[in-house]
């Protein structure tokens, strides 16, 4: 169980977490990068806004 750095909500992660993997928070949807696994540490992944926009 981790905490989302964006919205502060609890986050259940799968077991075989790897460093560098990207997951999204189920509450706020933010893409989070796994920067450590034991214990899991999560950071906001680089923003992809440019890819998405008009």
């Amino acid at each position: 169980m981790s905490t989302c750095p964006e919205c502060g909500d609890d986050l259940t992660l799968h077991d075989d977490l790897e460093v560098g993997e990207i997951v999204d928070c189920g509450t706020c949807g933010t893409e989070l990068e796994v920067v450590d696994t034991a214990p899991p540490v999560l950071e906001r992944a680089p923003d992809l806004a440019e890819d998405w926009g008009e």
Partner: protein
């Protein structure tokens, strides 16, 4: 009627219901919802124009129902009467409707405001002001506690509903105290009802971004009443049939952080069955969008921070004939009658979906 259980299970007794204005857009949606409601049986659906025709002749999605329109003057006694007639009809018929039904849920603007002077200011007065005191605003996120047992329920306006839901967490958290608020709304064509006219013909209405209420929209009155602050409101017609989207540009007196905002929204909506916070994230759908909630009673709300301009922007999206009228009405009726809160309202949205 005796509802023995409050959980909406199949054991709960069934309430009988009538829908006045059932040939209209909101009325048709009420019929759709009640057809799938485990605790409600529709007794009557009124239309003057289509009396004696099948409801499926007007609403193609309801061809499976074995129900014909009846005259609104021929009301039977029922447990709950839903009214979806144009503004002004309810105030003229409320006595008769209260006679016919223990609970009246009116979707028009006739009982939304608390006092007669408000109707003098924003509408053309009121012919049954004695009911204003007891009427309960239907939006459960605001009035849940007052709805239990209510006898007269006033459905909120669709633009007002979208706006209020977007701002409510900020108001509760005190962020709106002293704030300036601009509300820029985009709505679909079903908001205008089934009657039509030149401006709403397909050829004229397609593809528009049309300022249809540049200033002075009547929903300002409701928003002010429910949130306690006046807003600068402008509405645009855009090319969709269902949907209302409200973008609120908020300038708070003192700075807020993203964490504050997440807390405020979680606080307000954490336990709400029909409100989802969508704010950023990844993928194609990062903020509230009306098409993601079309056909459902869900509201999506969200926000973004603009530190450079000391601004908070909130977004909210609803289906105007669901959360913005018929769905909200059924939700309120569920609470008034003691049914499970989500009974009849668990439709999921669609993906992909075009311009519903």
């Amino acid at each position: 009627m005796a509802v023995t259980e409050a959980d909406g299970s199949a054991d709960a007794e069934t309430a009988t219901a009538s829908v006045v204005g059932a040939s209209g857009f909101a009325g048709g949606e009420l019929l759709r919802l009640l057809a799938g409601h485990p605790n409600v049986e529709v007794a009557q659906a009124t239309s003057r124009e289509y009396a004696n025709k099948t409801v499926g002749s007007v609403h193609p999605n309801l061809r499976g129902l074995d129900l014909r329109f009846s005259e609104p003057s021929d009301l039977e006694s029922v447990d709950v009467l839903f009214a979806a007639a144009p503004h002004g009809v309810a105030m003229d018929h409320i006595d008769a409707w209260q006679d016919a039904a223990d609970t009246v849920v009116d979707l028009s603007a006739d009982f939304r405001l608390d006092t007669e002077p408000q109707y003098d200011e924003w509408y053309d007065g009121h012919t049954a002001p004695e009911y204003l005191d007891d009427a309960v605003y239907a939006l459960p996120e605001i009035s849940r506690d007052d709805l239990a047992g209510a006898e007269l329920i006033a459905g909120g306006g669709c633009n007002a509903t979208a706006t209020i839901l977007g701002l409510l967490p900020l108001q509760t958290a005190g962020v709106l105290d002293g704030a300036d608020v601009v509300v820029d709304v985009k709505v679909g064509s079903s908001e205008g009802g089934a009657s039509g006219g030149k401006a709403s013909s397909h050829a004229e209405r397609s593809g528009v971004v049309r300022p249809y209420a540049p200033t002075g929209h009547r929903h300002e009155a409701e928003i002010e009443q429910e949130l306690g602050l006046s807003v600068s409101f402008t509405a645009h017609a855009v090319d969709m049939v269902r949907g209302a989207s409200a973008t609120c540009h908020v300038f708070p007196d003192s700075p807020v952080s993203k964490g504050d905002l997440w807390s405020a929204y979680r606080e307000t909506y954490g336990d709400e069955p029909f409100v989802e916070t969508v704010a950023g994230g990844s993928g194609v759908y990062r903020y509230p969008e009306p098409k993601a909630v079309a056909g459902t009673n869900n509201a999506e709300v969200g926000f973004e921070l603009d530190p450079g301009n000391e601004r908070v922007v909130t977004f909210s999206a609803i289906d105007n004939v669901m959360k913005g009228s018929a769905g909200q009405a059924v939700h309120a009726a569920n609470l008034a009658l003691g049914f499970a809160e989500t009974a009849g309202l668990q439709q999921l949205g669609m993906h992909p979906v075009g311009s519903p």
